[in-house]
Symmetry: C2
Subunit: 457 residues, 2 copies
Amino acid sequence: MIEEKDEKRDVSYDEEQLFQNLIEENIDEFRKHFLSLHAYERAKFYVKVGPDIRRTMYHFLSPEEMAEIYEAIELDDEEVEHFIKEMDPTYAAKMLSYMYTDDVVDVLNELDQDDRNSFLELMDEETKEEITELLGYEEYTAGSIMTTEYVSIQENSTVRSAMNVLRQEAPDAETIYYVFVVDESHRLTGVLSLRDLIVADEDAFIRDIMSDRVVYAKVTDDQEKIAQIFKDYNFLAFPVVDDNLVLQGIITVDDIIDVIDEEASDDYSKLAGISDIDDIASSPFKAAKQRLPWLVMLLFLGMITATLMGQFEETLEKVALLALFIPLISGTSGNSGTQALAVVVRGIATGEIDEKSKLKMIFREMGTGLITGIVCGLIVVGVVFVWKQSLLIGLLVGTAICCSIFVATIAGSFIPLLIHKLGIDPAVASGPFITTLNDITSILIYLGLATLLLGQL
Amino acid sequence: MIEEKDEKRDVSYDEEQLFQNLIEENIDEFRKHFLSLHAYERAKFYVKVGPDIRRTMYHFLSPEEMAEIYEAIELDDEEVEHFIKEMDPTYAAKMLSYMYTDDVVDVLNELDQDDRNSFLELMDEETKEEITELLGYEEYTAGSIMTTEYVSIQENSTVRSAMNVLRQEAPDAETIYYVFVVDESHRLTGVLSLRDLIVADEDAFIRDIMSDRVVYAKVTDDQEKIAQIFKDYNFLAFPVVDDNLVLQGIITVDDIIDVIDEEASDDYSKLAGISDIDDIASSPFKAAKQRLPWLVMLLFLGMITATLMGQFEETLEKVALLALFIPLISGTSGNSGTQALAVVVRGIATGEIDEKSKLKMIFREMGTGLITGIVCGLIVVGVVFVWKQSLLIGLLVGTAICCSIFVATIAGSFIPLLIHKLGIDPAVASGPFITTLNDITSILIYLGLATLLLGQL
């Protein structure tokens, strides 16, 4: 029966009741309620309660049941370490042995070297080897997010035997909706969906019904590239092979959703000059600590602006009116630079911008900068002329705006491309950084022009 | 056999060959090659070739085969209309009838009212009714992204009969990996995965093995909320019901990936003040047209800054030195405002910020603004004192920075919350807008303070 609690879409459960059961050590009642929940809800409850209650949970739940919680959990790096250390080491090791290998790797990556090794020692030889190999892959590669619990089958099996394998593997495999076909040396040769299997004749041979145009990734491929393939092809799972095409693991769509989310949030944060862990749950002190490095760095960049402007103090002294347009000019150049930056960073992330199209991109942005610069410049000439009744000031401010937008647009597109060329994530060229840089150039252009025209002003 | 073209992960295919086959009207060769490709590759080819070649494709491929292409395609709004109009209307209508209803709705939404109606008239009564209903749901709701091709089954069926239903529905259903259990009035009562089914005893009753704690969405639910549920629960598909819990359709994970991507890109674009369709493929003119509205609007906001500063022209005339710090102060306040903005917009998007935590959030940001303001202020006092040998100027600039950061941080968090409260997407409070707004306040604070201290300066 569905509980009709419409406010929250998730099925409601009685948190208070579970809590009471734990305090009163009413194991049967607790297990009955708790185990009927979806793993995500069990995980939410587990994270919410205090350490004492969690310790009771370790007694009431088997390592296998706890493993399900850990597969559904999204933990902060610190929390993982903290929680695992609450457990009895043998219990924790057992729990890890029930988890999918990709999730085990996520947990072990949060522990220090010693703890990691002692857990590895407690595992059986085969698991230990698999996990050690997975731990060896670089972060953000296919190898680091893949799992080794997939279903593979030989080309010369029949559909019937494949279905039997699936039935056996169903409790352990991370997905049974794809079966990967391999040859004798475990090289990937084909793929079959469970959909294909259940409509096929039971006596058909796998090799005759499998699809041999398999899309796959290398263990060293970047996770962002793989996310793009999932988006394009609408896969639910995806094989990962080594250089000899030997099947090493699979990546499932739920992991890819996390990747897409992570990368998007990362780009977003960098555009704003914030840290990804600066979330609303942290204290003002923690938030300030996250934001200050950026702010202070930009403050010093801003000091450079002030120093450079110092060269023009004389000009400003003679025509104080000039100062009024400084925020307008620096603001507009900052805005147009950020626009160009965002388009280029997004283009690089989606793979739309590659080696070939880079130069075209810069020319495109030069064109865009010229057009927007001229339009904004003309508007400013008109407005300033009407307002200040001075064509000269109007022309000066308009020209400065036009040149600043042109330069800022090129900088906004060129800098991320350059950074990308150097093998660094182009998103580090964050918005505030580009903006502050453009502040400097735009003010130099403006005050430089003004000083040249000083006789006339 | 896997083609070993390692540079590109997708399986290579001979574009030139396909092209030749079409020009030479070699239908058999073309079909042999083309139909062996993944639907996504077929779609890429289809979009790439010119209208004449596409017309040949309509002759060489059945409406059903074309439907597969249209399900894999990602088209610009304009392209869809353009392409559909190339087809013979009966062919197009037939193609639409082979597509999943959610994809049909996507296509029809791009056509004008008249064309849409004439296509609907060409469909059979049942499909027409279904599509009309789907078209009626508001954009960005569960109803607008769900499909009606799901597998449902009665509670009192057996596993064997369920498997038979699945086998029959497999060619048509969008996913067969979940079976939705309904009562006599088609109200959702449970869910079963194909994994559960294949490991179950063939004679077991569905009601005994199904999970009755179903997580579902209402047709009117926001797509972003649903994306969050997919992320939390790692679903592959998800039922959508009406107010009476009657099953209306399902949402599959591939559609959710598009939603996540769309929403992330949307937030990102708004933070930078660009339009989502400003991509690298557009001409400089098109790009400029996309960016100018923002730039010009911000230009006029910047004019307001200039006008307000005009009130302080006298002060600036007397102490030209003051102008040097204007970009520093406005830049820093802009940066801290953008940081606060990004954290809050992200918090609202992920659902971390709700009614209850709003006030807490503002207090948190007040605290963060105070701490970052004081730290940056003190740094500035020190640097300016050393540089200009004037404690007074140092204190003035430092105080202005401190106050500006405080105000900007509060504005950056309060404004998106306010906009959200008004039922508008908080991301419209884009970065450049907040920055320009903070420019104004920070300069007023700075020059106001300076004017007060004018006697001392």
